[in-house]
Symmetry: C2
């Protein structure tokens, strides 16, 4: 695939297709050190070959250690460097000698603390040898489908999210690492995560171009502090967002926030209104909080449609009111099903049910009653989207609702977004419902914001 | 305590002090029916005596069944009625004969479906016999400290929250039931939950007056659709909120939301601006979403102070930026610690740490580094509140941080609010940190909104 994403430069895809990886800076003594943690994480799930490099050790974690990358008697597709900053240039030179085309530099101590010369010398080395670099000063790579966890975060501290179709590109390593763990908690399926740190070479534009054609990625989630090549980013994003949704959380929008961005990654946060307008023009869905970023990513990973007229279906009137308030506040509207269809539903329901919008199936609702309401909303041409609220605390909501929602969601293009508030029992059902493609949120307000995002992106 | 909360009427406290409870309408055949579920829930945790009433059964769940309340050969403090609506008046008359002073009427089928006469006749009966009534058409009572779960929601569907100091008063039964379960998930300690449905007798004003003097309740959480005696509510709330925080979520704020409220409980939602202004005047902290309601309740249950100038402490720069944006957006300000104190901190930290606001302890932060930063913020007179972000994914953040935060929080009146994003490992630490009094939230934005609420209520 080399050349596909830039004629003179090596491909970004090489980072994700390398079958043999060397980790440089694997300590034999510091078991919690970054190089050692990366090496251990790779051993535990990655199907390719992994080689530790440390001139002072013979064997680490039962594997033969090599004094240098060039001493490894096999071809190496990618190198991960976790040595002190001063040692990095010689490691890269050694990699070049070996013909390695891809390096991830975890090490900090470069431009972020003023060492611009050291960073520039690395770039010159990389360009001379057609080597692509992620980092320095980053968390690196995570590829769920290949079991490749090259983050230096200890396994026991993190729950791996399920492999899925959401790619996460984050300027911040902490947000990438915390996000990985949170994705598991939020039941979001991840394809790849990249934290690119000082973006000496690979930046958000390169990642967008790579993910544009990555078959395992259907949604691109971005955490941005600042953009280096703003115009180019907007141009590429405009193209990519026609193929797959891009959901972005741009921070540094307040005066003090912009200053904090400067202290953090040295990026210029820029004028928030200008940014927001440009991102919107590029077709990017913007999140206003970290929670929204993840909520939106989950919705786009599961639903491929949206629209303004929403039918609410609930078994608890209070939650229906909250959903109504939230939809109106978000600028969506309440669908009005045809009089005939409402009459037909009323005829099938007990008299204490309310067939308006919201439809209140009331506390004795069983799965069959939900199905009638959902089917009516699917069939009615005045409905674009469905917000359905489940209360798994109620005795008659048996588990068969899971298969019924799955079947309903399969037969319609209209987005179905669910709400289920509760604890373990509810959570179990939530996971089951999401497994068949309907996203579930804790509160009506979160679901309403998601429907707005789906409508903005997919609606007409 | 009779007479304390109203001369001619029985006390509200009787609902929460009754040691013998009769449940009327316990089916011997429908195991999922409301009466049966209530009876079973009471048997499983309540230390008082519980009697099933059903004229057609001899024994239910191994307990002798009585044909009527008056046939029970012991004194009865409270009756819970779950019969069909038409049977309720004769049950209440029988209770009056027996001298029962407190009845919770779960049964629906009254004013909410137009049966106002039936409901009015109940009220007349109750007043004549000095009986207090919760309901009808409600979920009823939950008292965590007495193990009294009189909700008809099956136990296996719900996780009981820990017993704590937050009372939840909800017009909606679904919100009360879902909220009970969610409180467990959100690690919120509950004292009492009351769902009062059609509020024939007991309403939010009665509950406020009772909770004002309830020693187990330190925070009052309200879900409101509409108020019957608005002026009286504001008057009482103004008094109560001087003693303990009241956190309220008022719904029906949009035009369609107000209509949904009418369909649900028949309440007049009223003009949202007028409402909001009146609640603010009464010293009530207003939540704008269900998530905020619970987030605020947790914060007030653990922290008794607030202020505008916030010091952010993080080990991930990105999360620090998010917190900065969110605080500024919420109208709080970033504290400026004295130059001397910042200098002293800088001297103790490695040079790659950033001692501004946010303080960025960076990815290799250990508990000791956090402690130095937290202590400095506690001691500095320019800091009113502390927002501290933990990333438990990072290898050096050992579990001893839990005790260190506990010790820090004990020695200061300044509120400490924490953020920890992640999955199981993080969740374990979050529970441990909250056990010693520091609330923890998933995202910086949620923590920032909480600090704003604390500042609004407790700040000068």
């Amino acid at each position: 695939m080399s050349g596909e994403f830039g004629e003179s430069l090596g491909s970004v895809s090489g980072f994700f297709s390398a079958n043999s990886v060397a980790v440089v800076g694997v300590s034999s003594t510091d078991e919690e050190g970054p190089g050692r943690a990366i090496f251990r994480n790779l051993l535990s799930g990655f199907s390719g070959k992994v080689f530790p490099v440390n001139p002072k050790a013979g064997e680490i974690e039962g594997r033969t250690c090599y004094p240098s990358v060039s001493a490894i008697p096999e071809e190496i597709g990618m190198v991960i460097v976790a040595t002190p900053a001063a040692a990095v240039p010689s490691v890269i030179e050694d990699c070049a000698k070996k013909g390695v085309g891809h390096a991830v530099i975890i090490s900090g101590g470069f431009s972020e603390i003023g060492n611009r010369d050291l960073e520039n010398s690395l770039l010159a080395l990389a360009r001379k040898n057609s080597m692509r670099i992620i980092g320095p000063n980053c968390l690196g790579l995570y590829d769920a489908h290949r079991g490749m966890n090259a983050f230096f975060l200890p396994n026991y501290r993190i729950k791996a999210p399920k492999a899925g179709n959401v790619a996460f590109v984050s300027q911040s390593g902490a947000v990438a690492g915390g996000g990985l763990d949170w994705a598991a908690s939020e039941n979001i399926g991840i394809s790849k995560i990249v934290s690119y740190g000082n973006k000496l070479d690979i930046d958000e534009v390169d990642m967008l171009e790579f993910l544009e054609n990555d078959p395992q990625t259907k949604v691109i989630m971005l955490y941005i502090e600042g953009l280096r090549q703003g115009d180019r980013f907007i141009e590429v994003a405009k193209r990519v967002s026609r193929k797959k949704p891009i959901v972005a959380f741009k921070v540094g929008n307040s005066e003090k926030g912009a200053r904090a961005v400067m202290s953090h990654t040295g990026s210029l946060a820029g004028d928030s209104k200008v940014y927001s307008g440009a991102l919107r023009q590029a077709g990017i869905v913007q999140a206003e909080t970290l929670e929204e970023l993840f909520d939106f990513a989950k919705a786009f990973s599961l639903q491929q449609a949206g629209g303004r007229r929403v039918q609410i279906i609930t078994s608890g009137g209070g939650f229906g009111v909250m959903a109504t308030d939230a939809l109106e506040k978000g600028g969506l509207s309440l669908a009005e099903m045809s009089r005939e269809r409402r009459g037909a539903l009323e005829a099938k329901f007990p008299s204490h049910c309310v067939v308006k919008n919201p439809i209140d199936l009331t506390g004795d609702a069983d799965p069959g009653r939900y199905l009638l309401a959902i089917d009516a909303a699917i069939e009615d041409e005045n409905v674009d989207a469905i917000l359905v609220i489940f209360l798994f605390q109620l005795p008659k909501l048996s588990t068969e609702i899971v298969q019924m929602v799955a079947a309903a969601d399969r037969k319609t293009d209209k987005p179905i977004v669910a709400v289920a508030i509760g604890s373990d029992f509810t959570h179990m059902h939530k996971i089951a419902i999401e497994a068949s493609g309907t996203p579930v949120y804790d509160t009506p307000e979160r679901a309403a914001r998601v429907l707005k995002a789906l409508s903005d992106f997919w609606g007409e």
